[in-house]
């Protein structure tokens, strides 16, 4: 049975949850793990939370993708989950979702292999998290027009959470005591294998 409402529910359900999880993950990354932050919970706790929520989103994302592809009600091929162009069903919104998935793959893989690459390169790639979050949000809004009820509340809350977090972080940065900024080496000194 590859038809019927169960796959639709699975897809929509995991979609909303993934968006919420990605939003929380991103907010944690902004507020709790930067330079002048980390009040409250110890940082290694928020770091572990950030990591685990991201990994959980990946698992649920897999379910989200599989349920969409397997569902015969709409024509979505396997490759369209990864390639942002060429889809026939809602090409724009689906394309955004595919792009977001590609970026999630890059961010998660590089983070798992963090110790085997140069820190600066990892950091640069990690910044694409902002982009992937935004694309996920737009994908959700564009694809989720058949949702009713509480979905819009969740969408608005997610959409607001990240900019608010970013503003809060900027506020912290600006109002914090002015210590001299470090003058970083242009070539990383910490390329290393985990001991």
């Amino acid at each position: 049975m590859t038809d019927g409402p169960i796959l639709w529910y699975l897809n929509r359900g995991t979609g909303v949850v993934v968006l919420v999880l990605l939003t929380i993950t991103t907010v944690l990354g902004i507020v709790a793990l930067g330079n002048r932050s980390g009040r409250g919970l110890p940082r290694f706790v928020t770091q572990a939370l950030h990591r685990n929520l991201a990994l959980l989103s990946v698992v649920l994302l897999a379910v989200h993708v599989v349920s969409a592809v397997v569902d015969e009600y709409v024509d979505i091929r396997w490759w369209q989950a990864f390639v942002p162009l060429g889809a026939t069903y809602e090409p724009l919104w689906l394309g955004l979702g595919a792009l977001a998935l590609d970026l999630i793959a890059v961010v998660v893989l590089t983070s798992l292999l963090r110790h085997r690459m140069q820190h600066r390169a990892w950091r640069l790639l990690h910044v694409s998290s902002y982009g992937l979050w935004l694309m996920s949000l737009l994908h959700g809004i564009g694809m989720g027009t058949d949702l009713r009820g509480g979905w819009w509340i969740a969408a608005v809350a997610c959409a607001a959470a990240v900019p608010l977090a970013a503003t809060y972080r900027l506020f912290l940065l600006v109002t914090d005591r002015p210590t001299p900024e470090p003058n970083p080496p242009t070539t990383p000194t910490n390329v290393g294998v985990l001991r």
Binding site: T179, P180, P182, N183, P185, T186, T189, N190
Partner: protein, 433 residues
């Protein structure tokens, strides 16, 4: 005695960082000496050099190692590290890179500039001899960024030569930490001339991952003299345990500094200018230590000898504190300068050194005590990619140890130096009536 004028020198007013209390001199006076500085009156040209010393003999790695081992050649960059050990540590199997470090970031030192102006070919010959012996891939010269006459003189000397080893010259950024070994390797690679963390020693993997032998210009000059003149003549100067001589930069108030060559074993006082008599001096430069006149009066020019007296000769700087100059005030100014010279890369240094400077300033003003100073000193030591904080701490500790009475006086709002009765020497004739 020759004085060198630096017409291109301009006084730098660098952004907001505190200026050095001892500015880079615009002139330096160099006296003839027993070893490196013998015959400087003939000029610095390659022709004059060859007429005096002849062609550069060739020697292989083992011969080089034996030679430097027998005379126990030590580095002249400040650490007095045995050159033979440095050679031994150089990894075999890959062609090494040699570096002449002439950046002379220490404002109170002028000996490397003096060598550039008077004996550049001794410096280059020493490095070339080693380069040949070690089959070095290339030779790099790091010129000072704030002593244009010295840099020009070196370039002129390099242009006169035709050695088989390729030579590349670089200009150091005019900062105190620019001469640090890892900072120099960064400069060679085209990156900012600042220290980085060293996971592998330069002798194993330095510039471009190759074994790198970096030494001070004077060290190379000593090696050059050794190779050109031979062991016997080299060891005729100095003592049996410490052969050779070393360059000293002697400060003179209101005048350019004097660079002299002192043989090991000489009495230190015999090399000091008259104004230094009876006065304490900062020996070794801004990362050195204070010595009272009593210590200096009986001291011999000797690395272990001075170490035994609690003083490190370092790069041979003797910065006298003239009458009326409070050593606490001078040290506070030096530490202010050193704090501003932090590369700004390591948290304990770029936070701790300004705090240390502030605490020492409070001691000078009488608004704070030495406890905070020693506390901060312990916090910044050995917590950074280079030895800049360590050297600063050495200076501060020697101040507190040598001038404890002055520190107490300042705590009570007085200054012992300022209230000293000045004794003005008069000749006997003035008393005849």
């Amino acid at each position: 005695m020759t004085t060198y004028l630096d017409p291109h020198h301009t006084v730098r007013t660098d952004d907001a960082r505190p200026a050095s209390p001892v500015p880079i001199p615009t002139r330096v006076t160099v006296e003839p000496g027993p070893a490196l500085l013998a015959g400087i009156e003939h000029g610095a040209s390659l022709g004059a050099h060859r007429r005096q010393y002849g062609e550069l003999p060739r020697l292989d790695r083992d011969a080089l190692h034996d030679l430097v081992g027998r005379v126990r050649l030590r580095g002249r960059g400040g650490a007095a590290f045995p050159f033979a050990t440095k050679l031994e540590a150089l990894r075999r199997g890959r062609r090494p890179v040699l570096v002449i470090n002439m950046s002379e970031g220490e404002p109170a030192s002028s000996k490397d500039a003096a060598l550039a102006l008077t004996r550049p070919h001794l410096v280059i010959d020493g490095a070339v001899a080693a380069a040949r012996a070690l089959h070095a891939r290339e030779l790099h010269v790091v010129l000072p960024g704030d002593r244009p006459a010295a840099a020009t003189a070196m370039r002129t000397a390099l242009a006169e030569r035709d050695d088989s080893v390729p030579v590349h010259s670089h200009v150091a950024t005019p900062r105190f930490v620019a001469g640090q070994a890892k900072a120099v390797v960064e400069l060679l690679a085209g990156r900012p001339n600042l220290p980085v963390t060293s996971w592998k020693p330069d002798a194993i993997a330095g510039h471009q991952g190759r074994p790198t032998l970096l030494s001070n210009a004077e060290t190379w000059a000593r090696l050059g003299l050794l190779v050109l003149r031979g062991e016997r003549e080299y060891a005729a100067v100095g003592t049996r345990d410490e052969s050779g001589a070393t360059l000293l930069t002697l400060s003179r108030p209101g005048a350019d500094p004097l660079v002299r060559e002192a043989a090991y074993g000489d009495r230190l006082r015999d090399h000091l200018p008259a104004h230094a008599y009876g006065r304490p001096a900062l020996i070794g430069g801004f990362h050195g230590s204070w010595a009272t006149w009593e210590t200096m009066a009986s001291a011999r020019v000797s690395v272990p000898g001075l170490r035994g007296l609690g003083v490190a000769l370092g790069a041979g700087v003797v910065l006298s504190s003239p009458a009326g100059q409070c050593p606490l005030t001078l040290t506070s100014q030096v530490v202010d300068y050193l704090a501003g010279q932090s590369a700004g890369r390591c948290g304990p240094c770029f936070n701790g050194l300004p705090a240390l400077a502030g605490a020492l300033g409070a001691v000078r003003d009488g608004s704070g005590g030495p406890v905070r100073v020693t506390q901060l000193a312990t916090l910044v030591e050995r917590r950074g990619a280079c030895a800049h904080p360590d050297g600063t701490v050495r200076l501060v500790r020697s101040l507190l140890g040598t001038f404890a009475a002055e520190v107490s006086a300042h705590g009570e709002g007085r200054c012992l130096e300022a209230s000293r009765l000045r004794v003005v020497p008069v000749t006997a004739r003035e008393f005849a009536s």
